[in-house]
């Protein structure tokens, strides 16, 4: 009796086990996505992965990789993509398109396509977050600036925190500053000329990652940055306000792409769909991530200089196909001009 019971128990356990083992065969499998390490990885693990699992029974595997690493790792894989999806800023996106690293995307396959504003999806990818760039200042210490050129005037210049061409937001801000002094998207020479005149007064020339800390500690009281940084600092009780310069705030998007040769294309579409869905976008737009959403169904935060996503089409944008070939030279020049 005992033996039978044991057998029955073993059979029962085996049946349960096999049910468990066969479950993944019914599940839709997995998708591997490259993601920026840090906040992006945390945010997607917390908000995208559960939705993907719940709605589509797909496991999200993430590889924490910076943009350059994604492009390089794909190039090194020679036809066997190491991940199914990229996440890229405009500069590396152009490089990857040039190198033929993306599958074309059929936006009609995305259930949330109607919620994505114009200009935020194309044949190569779909936006998953936006950045709005302008001037951030401490209203308790400085008067409100109105334009990019105010950064180089008193009283702002002696409280200015500068960062170079190392990030997308730094590059576009310096381009806009150059434009005020007669430069253009491909000519930032005026920035170097003007910065040289005031360099001795500038409060800090920092690395992009250090800028929020420098602002928080009062080392600088004005800087160019994105709304995400402003909202994050405000959330921590820092006196900071975002100003859209009179020539317009700058915007750019971070996009998701399907890797060329991916054997997991259906799941990659579902991953993108989950990432741009209203609940996920809403969650990503709240504390502690404060991403600028790309889904029309999500209400915009009070710290943003627009009341609807469609207004972003009026913001200043840049052609990274023109910027990319020049940027390495600008970074080198910035090193030399700023070096003590």
């Amino acid at each position: 009796m005992t033996l039978m019971s044991r057998r029955a128990a073993l059979l029962g356990a085996a049946a349960l086990g096999s049910a468990g083992l066969t479950r993944p065969a019914f599940a839709a499998g997995s998708v591997t996505a490259a993601i920026y390490p840090g906040a992006w990885e945390e945010a997607f693990r917390e908000h995208v992965a559960p939705v993907l699992k719940r709605q589509f029974q797909i496991d999200l595997e993430m590889q924490g990789l910076f943009a350059v690493d994604q492009v390089a790792k794909f190039a090194a894989s020679r036809g066997a993509p190491p991940f199914d999806c990229f996440v890229l800023d405009p500069g590396p996106r152009i490089t990857a398109i040039d190198r033929g690293q993306f599958e074309r995307i059929d936006i009609n396959k995305l259930a949330n396509k109607a919620q994505i504003p114009a200009g935020m999806a194309d044949e190569w990818g779909v936006a998953t977050g936006a950045q709005v760039v302008g001037i951030a200042y401490n209203p308790k210490k400085l008067p409100r600036p109105t334009g990019w050129d105010d950064l180089l005037k008193d009283p702002w210049v002696s409280k200015l925190g500068l960062t170079g061409f190392g990030t997308t937001f730094g590059t576009v801000s310096l381009i806009e500053l150059a434009k005020v002094f007669g430069g253009s998207e491909t000519n930032v020479e005026p920035v170097f000329t003007e910065l040289k005149k005031v360099l001795g007064k500038v409060a800090a020339v920092g690395t992009p990652a250090a800028m929020p800390g420098l602002f928080q500690q009062g080392q600088c009281d004005i800087m160019y940055t994105n709304t995400q940084t402003v909202t994050t600092l405000k959330d921590r009780g820092v006196d900071i306000e975002f100003v859209a310069p009179k020539t317009g705030a700058v915007s750019f998007i971070t996009t998701l792409h399907i890797a060329k040769g991916s054997t997991n294309i259906d799941n990659a579409y579902k991953y993108i769909d989950a990432a741009i869905s209203a609940p996920v976008q809403k969650a990503l737009s709240e504390a502690p991530y404060f991403f600028v959403p790309v889904n029309r169904g999500v209400a915009l935060g009070a710290g943003l200089p627009m009341r609807s996503l469609d207004e972003m089409s009026r913001f200043v944008t840049h052609d990274w196909a023109k910027i990319n070939p020049l940027r390495a030279g600008w970074i080198d020049r910035f090193n030399r001009e700023m070096a003590k």
């Binding site: 910076f66 350059v68 690493d69 492009v71 390089a72 190039a75 590396p92 490089t95 500068l162 960062t163 170079g164 061409f165 190392g166 409060a203 800090a204 020339v205 920092g206 690395t207 990652a209 250090a210 800390g213 420098l214 500690q217 009062g218 080392q219 940027r327 390495a328 970074i331 910035f334 090193n335 030399r336 700023m338 070096a339 003590k340």
Partner: protein
């Protein structure tokens, strides 16, 4: 042969791992530096020429090595007296001092670096003290200066100097100090003629650890030093991670490796000579 294998056998797994994960990537790094384009398709010396024939790059090399030497000097000047105090302390206080010396290692270097922003900033602890005491009318500029960077590196790297130094200090015979005093030597003469030569190997080991760590301290250099102080590690980062120019990044990385190794070799040699002289005389 068999005996040699038995002797070397236990070290084989580590040796193989070292070959696979250190030597092989290093050789790949050297190979990458000989490509002329960022897509690694054309061989050429272009990137070596670009680095070697530009005075700005040599200034960056010099600044990086000088930063390491300044950090070594500051840690030795502050660490050696602490080690002497430790040598003369009771076992209880020795344990307390050792804990204090090692404690910074228990905190992440990132946290220690960001803590220095709070200390050295315009509204930081130092400036509040200086302004509060009326020593200056305006906040001192400490962040984003080489002085601020050296101060922070001194604290951040101090355990690396103290640990080898204290282990050598623990071994030296205290009777030698009494012997020196009984022969009429002043405390200073005893320090320079007896103590320093005896602890030279530990001091050299600590100094080379501090030097290697300070010259490659990317986070501290970037966060405390800021954008106007350009050192080799930030140049490697820019070229590799922003410009995607891996061949040039490889050139800069090799220059960093070679130049830092050269100085380390000199420090190690100086330590051996100083130590050898003492031990030779003792023998």
């Amino acid at each position: 042969m068999k005996q040699a294998f038995i002797r070397m056998g236990p070290a084989l797994p580590l040796g193989l791992a070292y070959l696979a994960f250190f030597v092989a990537p290093l050789l790949m790094l050297v190979a990458v530096s000989f490509f002329a384009d960022d897509k690694l398709t054309v061989l050429g010396l272009d990137n070596w020429r670009k680095f070697l024939f530009d005075s700005f790059h040599w200034k960056v090399v010099a600044d990086t090595l000088l930063l390491g030497l300044k950090a070594v000097c500051a840690t030795v000047l502050l660490g050696l007296p602490l080690a002497l105090v430790w040598r003369g302390a009771s076992p209880f206080w020795q344990r307390v001092l050792l804990f204090v010396a090692v404690m910074p290692l228990l905190t992440s270097v990132v946290v220690r670096t960001f803590a220095w922003i709070v200390i050295l900033g315009r509204e930081g602890v130092v400036n509040q003290l200086v302004l509060g005491l009326g020593l200056a009318a305006e906040p001192l500029r400490l962040l984003q200066t080489e002085l601020g960077l050296v101060i922070s590196l001194t604290q951040i790297e101090m355990p690396l100097l103290l640990l080898p130094l204290l282990s050598v200090m623990a071994r030296f015979d205290p009777n030698l100090l009494d012997a020196s005093a009984s022969l009429g030597a002043s405390p200073w003469r005893t320090l320079f003629k007896v103590v320093l030569p005896l602890v030279a190997p530990g001091l050299a080991a600590g100094a080379l650890l501090v030097f290697a760590s300070a010259t490659t301290a990317f986070i501290s250099q970037s966060v405390i030093g800021g954008g106007r102080l350009v050192y080799l590690p930030s140049l490697v980062w820019q070229q590799a991670m922003i410009n995607a120019n891996w061949p040039f990044a490889a050139v800069v990385a090799i220059v960093l490796l070679v130049s830092v190794s050269a100085v380390i070799a000199v420090i190690a040699l100086a330590g051996r000579i100083a130590g050898g002289r003492v031990h030779g005389a003792a023998a």
